[in-house]
Amino acid sequence: MVASVLFAFTALFTLFALYSERKISAFIQDRLGPMENGKYGSLQAFADILKMLQKEFIIPTAADKILFILAPIIIFVSVYLGFAALPWAPGLIPASLNLGVFYIFAILSIETLGILMAGWGSNNKYALLGSMRSVAQMVSYEIPAGISLLSVVMIPQSLNLQEITIRQGILSSEAVNFLGIWDVKAIGGILSWNVFQAPHLIIAYIIYFIASLAECNRAPFDIPEAESELIGGFHVEYSGLRFAFIFLAEYSMMFLVGMIGVVLFLGGWNSPLPNIGSVSLAYWTTGIGWGIFWILLKTLSVVAIQIWIRWTLPRFRVDQLMSLCWKVLTPLAFLCMLISGVWRLTMM
């Protein structure tokens, strides 16, 4: 039941994200985007999905059948399983794991395996190149992502995502210190978010955001699926429903990493409105419905920023990508972790 609700959500979100990506990219490029299907082209995504579902299941003759068929399933399922540990509202979480952060991080790594299977199983030079680059990219960028996540979980001292979210708002059982000094537990709102509790976490959030863009194979890190260079990268041989699964996985992953960032750094389902004196906006705007609303609003803005960045920046060259990861992001992430440790010892 919960699983089907989550699946329906990922499917609907993908359609919405697809439509909004086409429209946002069109407006940025001074054109209109889809306008024919439905009012302002809103039914275009449904038309595309219907078309994809009707396509033939083509498997190249020389392809490794088992790997070829399994790859999209593994890519999608690993991303989909990551949704299991994410909190949507106070008390509303599919599985409140004590190892939430660790679990999500581990399960997202399996997507790398799926991409490798897709590239090898396609028996195509370009697919293999794309998937090799993708594996290199994803594995390298997991380091700064993981270290920045570590820097943030040092503050609430818990890997349970629901716990971490609770400690960023008015429902917290411990003191919530804005900039480590001022106890804002009764005020709540934007002041109690993790990025403001310990300001070096802003840098950690930027590192995590960049690293998560690279994890999703999203521009400017979309070398694996460089449309103009590698034709399609690792998914060039896929058509119809299999391609739809890979596509679904990509957009769900955008949402997933956006949501992880929001939960860990930006307060999750907590309201950004503070209690100002007797106008207790934070109490009024925290609850199950409000919680879902806030987390959706925050995550969708993060997704919009991801789309905005895709259509602004040119693609990284593969050596520039690697050098960015190992020479810039990883040392910075380690520095953030160091500061977190010192912060925890001294300020809390």
Binding site: I28, D30, W308, T312
Partner: protein, 196 residues
């Protein structure tokens, strides 16, 4: 090194500001202006797309697009077919027995056009046929959009004779020729008869 990092952030920020500006300018749609409008190039922000065929750019009246033939003025001289670089005009003429009539500028017509086909799919819109026509019956109009589903519909037939009429005229011509031939033979015989 730090300078490079700062440079990265500054340039990324500039780029993002630029695209965001375009994104918010997208509420302004394109004003459809004719090319003769003095402010044709004035708009420099907003959407550039014109949603054809709901909205069309106005075409000047002197637009040189598809051909049109005024069949009453045509003297079937075949000059347009001869000059066409892509051979898209196909004319078949039948000599008439007597003068058919006059064109609008006073020239006497003596030929029927049994077939006058212009293949608009081949036409390259060079306008040479309009230059050589002696009666100026073939002109370029300002219609540019005649899309057909069947390629054969792109061949425009300008002749207004039915197949029956064409056959009738050919038959009449043959008859006239046969009469003249017979008369000639008779005259020849009489001549040789006289000489003998």
């Amino acid at each position: 090194m730090i300078r490079k990092v700062f440079n990265v952030f500054i340039t990324v920020f500039k780029g993002l500001k630029l695209t965001l500006g375009h994104f918010f300018a997208a509420t302004e749609s394109r004003k459809v202006k004719a090319i003769s409008d003095p402010n044709y190039f004035a708009q420099n922000s907003g959407i550039t797309t014109i949603q054809y065929p709901h909205v069309k750019l106005p075409v000047p009246e002197v637009g040189r697009y598809q051909l049109d033939v005024e069949m009453d003025d045509c003297i079937v001289c075949d000059l347009c077919a001869k000059i066409c670089p892509v051979d898209c005009i196909d004319i078949e003429s039948i000599k008439s027995i007597e003068a058919i009539g006059k064109t609008s500028d006073g020239t006497t017509k003596r030929l029927y056009a049994a077939k006058f086909d212009i293949d608009m799919a081949k036409c390259m819109y060079c306008g040479l046929c309009t230059v050589v026509c002696p009666t100026e019956c073939i002109v370029m109009t300002d219609t540019y959009d005649r899309s057909m589903i069947d390629l054969n519909e792109m061949t425009y037939k300008f002749s207004d004779m039915t197949a029956a009429e064409a056959d009738e005229k050919r038959f009449a011509l043959e008859q006239l020729n046969a009469e003249r031939f017979a008369a000639k033979q008779l005259a020849l015989q009489q001549n040789t008869g006289n000489q003998i």
